[in-house]
Subunit: 190 residues, 2 copies
């Protein structure tokens, strides 16, 4: 997606060979117009997949997920990382390790919002080692629902997450595929 | 806002005289169409206020904030509750106590994204005791920026947050004002 590549080139900051900082438009400050373009793109890619629900994780997945849900006309669920007094009922949950935050956490979705008849599109801001995606897949399977595919804003193709999802047979659509961050330069997969 | 009142009446769950659960369309599952209507309403209310930035807190404020930012054509910043490896620079920060989660936390915004020339609209999903709003106001003042107003999706008018903001002279626009949850019934301010 050219608008996204341009934004990454102009406003992304390479912190190391492993870490790309996109706090200027995706992870802290958000560009709503770009989010709408991203949502439209995911909606087009998954238009004929019979999607009934979108699932993401708080917090940075929410903006692209909601824009995709708006275009497809379906609800969005964001998995919660932190227990709330108002999230009291039965939960589907899974453990996820974040390399960025260096913490293990439990993510959860209320059993009220996912059923076995749902066809779910997972949306997330980043795909790196795939720990978050695998946790969401686990939750969707616990509900007996179907994973229709994954829509990723930025994939770090040099880490293992994409390859594992490919091996498992999931459809993955990444709008930017980063081949390397070596030498402080963002190189995209052709 | 009638569409929001209707949604609260039909899908809101009164957990106690203090707690309204809206996990079906705002805090866990999100209704993107309603979020767009909410964003349009905030954009209309604050159309001539010279807003340059929207500020919210992760996670439930993000959807209504991004829809408002889309309509107004301005960026959205969400204050982060949790330190990240990619949020490494100087931060404006403030402490906030959550009665819902019964935890004290620090929220932060990078100094890169707010400047003294910004006129900021605060958007949040709930206004109850006002602790989150006061923390965001503190952060905006640390940047030397101006608080142009607050757009709240659901205000619990029987708690003290609204009255304090009124006393401080801030413009507060709440799309649903809940007068009482007594007896398991949602009563709105006329």
């Amino acid at each position: 997606m050219e608008a996204l590549h341009k934004k990454i080139r102009e406003e992304g900051i390479v912190l190391s060979d492993q870490v790309l900082k996109v706090d200027a438009f995706l992870n802290h400050q958000i560009d709503p117009v770009l989010m709408q373009q991203i949502g439209d793109e995911f909606a087009t890619l998954f238009a004929n997949s019979g999607i009934t629900k979108i699932v993401t994780i708080e917090a940075s997945g929410i903006a692209p997920a909601v824009m995709t849900g708006l275009k497809l006309g379906i609800p969005v669920i964001f998995a919660r990382k932190h227990q709330s007094l108002t999230l009291t009922e039965n939960l589907f949950s899974a453990s996820v390790y974040s390399f960025t935050k260096q913490t293990e956490s439990t993510i959860a979705i209320s059993t009220r919002h996912l059923t076995s008849s749902d066809r779910v599109l997972i949306i997330d801001d980043f795909l790196a080692n795939g720990k978050a995606s695998q946790a969401l897949i686990s939750i969707i399977k616990q509900a007996g629902a179907t994973v229709a595919g994954l829509g990723i804003v930025i994939e770090k193709s040099f880490q293992g997450g994409r390859a594992e999802l490919d091996t498992q047979g999931y459809r993955v659509e990444s709008l930017a595929r980063v081949k390397s961050l070596n030498g402080g330069v963002v190189t995209f997969v052709d």
